[in-house]
């Protein structure tokens, strides 16, 4: 087949999607033979920048590693700094952080579901889901003052309180979300054209998922019930009743189910937080120009897309000595490549989207003719670009 294989670069440019990546596919007819990722289009040098900024400034740069998991990154960062400071944050702040984290998960999962629908060409479903996602966006905007970069966690607690008189309204909004999510679960499970595109597509076995160190919903869709919130509880996840979701079939359909069911869990966690919000202050004071004692710490958070790790090393100044971030999507790339091998070209977008909408930049491709060793541009080769997690 050697001669008939040609290489496609799939780069990103998706309105609905975001992170840029470039994958080189070797394809044979309509099948994918091999995949090789090239990331870094989005590499901005965040880790270096963090070494040059104060702890308070870093709060906002870390939030912008990613606009979708922004709250997870901030939570992870503040936990690290608080551990080095030996600071215990108020209970109420912990509940508010959990609430934000779960609202973010709902927004992210719905976003993902919409993008997945768009990828299989189901724009109507995409529009419905994004319309209903506005409910959670409104809630986040009202709580934090911005729709995506909430800037809520700060070193020592959270920056804004939840007004008691708004709680009944929020609870009602959660009911709406729950009901709509039920509807979408039903659609995904019954619509023939959706099933045809998701069922059995992008399979990843449990063994491979573990071997390739997959994380997050992607791992749970392959039958491994692993979730940082349960395995290594932070904030108050050990006080709140909730379940880890996992499905065994390892395909895109399982990914859908895991995310939908997690949305239900998140709605319940949010309800619990709103109903059991302890009284008290929301933050302890950290001076905006403060220094952090020497030491190192690792902080783990379950972001919507899976395990997020931050590592900090401080040398006692007002700036971190080294800050390391690894966002979940990077961890999923080896597993993703495995999922793509042997599939159809037409399934590339949905499988890519399946691990995370972080990049569904799949619609732009550059073709490379390996026989003649020449690269020609597609129309587009506009391809773009981006890179990802790398945000940093």
């Amino acid at each position: 087949m050697g001669k008939r294989e040609f290489t496609i670069h799939v780069g990103p440019q998706h309105p609905a999607l975001k992170e840029p990546e470039n994958f080189v596919f070797k394809v044979d007819g309509e099948y994918v033979v091999d995949v090789e990722p090239r990331i870094g289009y989005n590499h901005r040098g965040i880790e270096k920048a963090m070494e040059n900024r104060t702890y308070i400034q870093n709060l906002y740069i870390v939030e912008r590693v990613c606009g979708i998991c922004s709250n997870s990154h901030q939570t992870c960062y503040t936990q690290n700094v608080e551990e080095l400071l030996g600071m215990e944050i108020p209970e109420r702040a912990k509940y508010i952080r959990v609430l934000l984290a779960e609202l973010e998960r709902i927004h992210s999962h719905l976003l993902w579901l919409g993008v997945a629908a768009h990828e299989i060409g189901f724009d109507t479903l995409f529009y419905y889901i994004w319309r209903d996602r506005e409910v959670v966006m409104d809630m986040l905007e009202e709580i934090s003052g911005n729709r995506v970069n909430y800037a809520m966690p700060t070193i020592g607690g959270v920056r804004r309180d939840i007004a008691a008189d708004k709680i009944p309204k929020y609870l009602k909004m959660l009911d709406v979300l729950e009901e709509r999510t039920k509807f979408y679960k039903n659609i995904c499970a019954t619509e023939k054209t959706v099933l045809a595109r998701a069922d059995g597509v992008g399979f990843l076995s449990k063994e491979d998922a573990i071997r390739l160190n997959a994380v997050g919903p992607n791992l749970r869709a392959s039958g491994v019930a692993s979730d940082i919130r349960a395995d290594s509880p932070y904030l108050v996840y050990d006080e709140i009743p909730w379940n880890v979701i996992s499905y065994d079939s390892g395909d895109v359909f399982a990914n859908v189910l895991v995310r939908v069911d997690e949305t239900f869990e998140s709605v319940n966690i949010c309800r619990y937080c709103l109903e059991h919000l302890p009284d008290g202050p929301i933050r302890t004071i950290f001076s905006p120009l403060g220094k952090v004692p020497e030491g190192e710490a690792v902080s783990l958070v379950e972001a919507p897309r899976g395990e997020l790790i931050h590592y900090i090393q401080s040398r006692g100044t007002d700036k971190p000595y080294r800050y390391k971030i690894r966002a979940p999507t990077l961890g999923n790339i080896p597993a993703l490549c495995e999922k793509l091998r042997g599939g159809y070209i037409a399934d590339i977008p949905i499988v890519l989207a399946g691990i995370d909408p972080c990049f569904s930049c799949t619609d732009r491709m550059v073709f490379v003719d390996e026989d003649r060793d020449k690269r020609w541009e597609m129309n587009g080769e506009q391809l773009r670009r981006y890179g990802v997690e790398w945000y940093k």
């Binding site: 900024r53 104060t54 308070i56 400034q57 870093n58 709060l59 906002y60 740069i61 912008r64 109507t124 479903l125 419905y128 319309r131 409104d138 905007e141 009202e142 934090s144 003052g145 911005n146 970069n149 800037a151 920056r159 804004r160 509807f183 039903n186 659609i187 019954t190 619509e191 905006p288 120009l289």
Partner: protein
């Protein structure tokens, strides 16, 4: 079938589209938008410029009593509200004005004047 039913339902209902910019809804309270500055309150400590993560605040004339005003570069600002949070006197604040689009870079710079407290004058933007 569920999908077909939903389509029917939506065909009967009014679209949920907001007719922005022809009909505007009030932004939620607490939205983080454009800055205001109260020149009489500012003590020129420069904290706001120091903590700003996006280097969006520039003190004119240096810190302390020399400070004659400030520039805020909206094109850099993250609307994080950290400046408001650190300001010891509440001289700088964010409003809920979010319609900031412009056609030229220069239009994104807010220039504020600082009035020493004795000469009380209305704030300027």
């Amino acid at each position: 079938m569920a999908m077909a039913k939903e389509l029917l339902k939506n065909a009967r209902e009014k679209p949920c589209t907001l007719l922005y910019p022809f009909e505007k809804t009030a932004p939620p309270e607490g939205l983080r938008g454009k800055h205001v500055f109260v020149g009489e309150k500012c003590i020129g400590c420069g904290l706001c410029a120091r903590v700003c993560p996006a280097f969006a605040i520039e003190l004119l004339g240096g810190r302390g009593p020399k400070m004659s005003g400030m520039k805020v570069y909206l094109g850099r600002c993250l609307f994080c509200q950290q400046c408001e949070e650190v300001c010891p006197t509440g001289a700088i604040k964010l409003t809920t004005d979010y319609e900031l689009a412009v056609l030229k870079q220069e239009d994104m710079v807010l220039v504020f004047e600082r009035k020493p407290p004795e000469a009380k004058q209305p704030k300027k933007e």
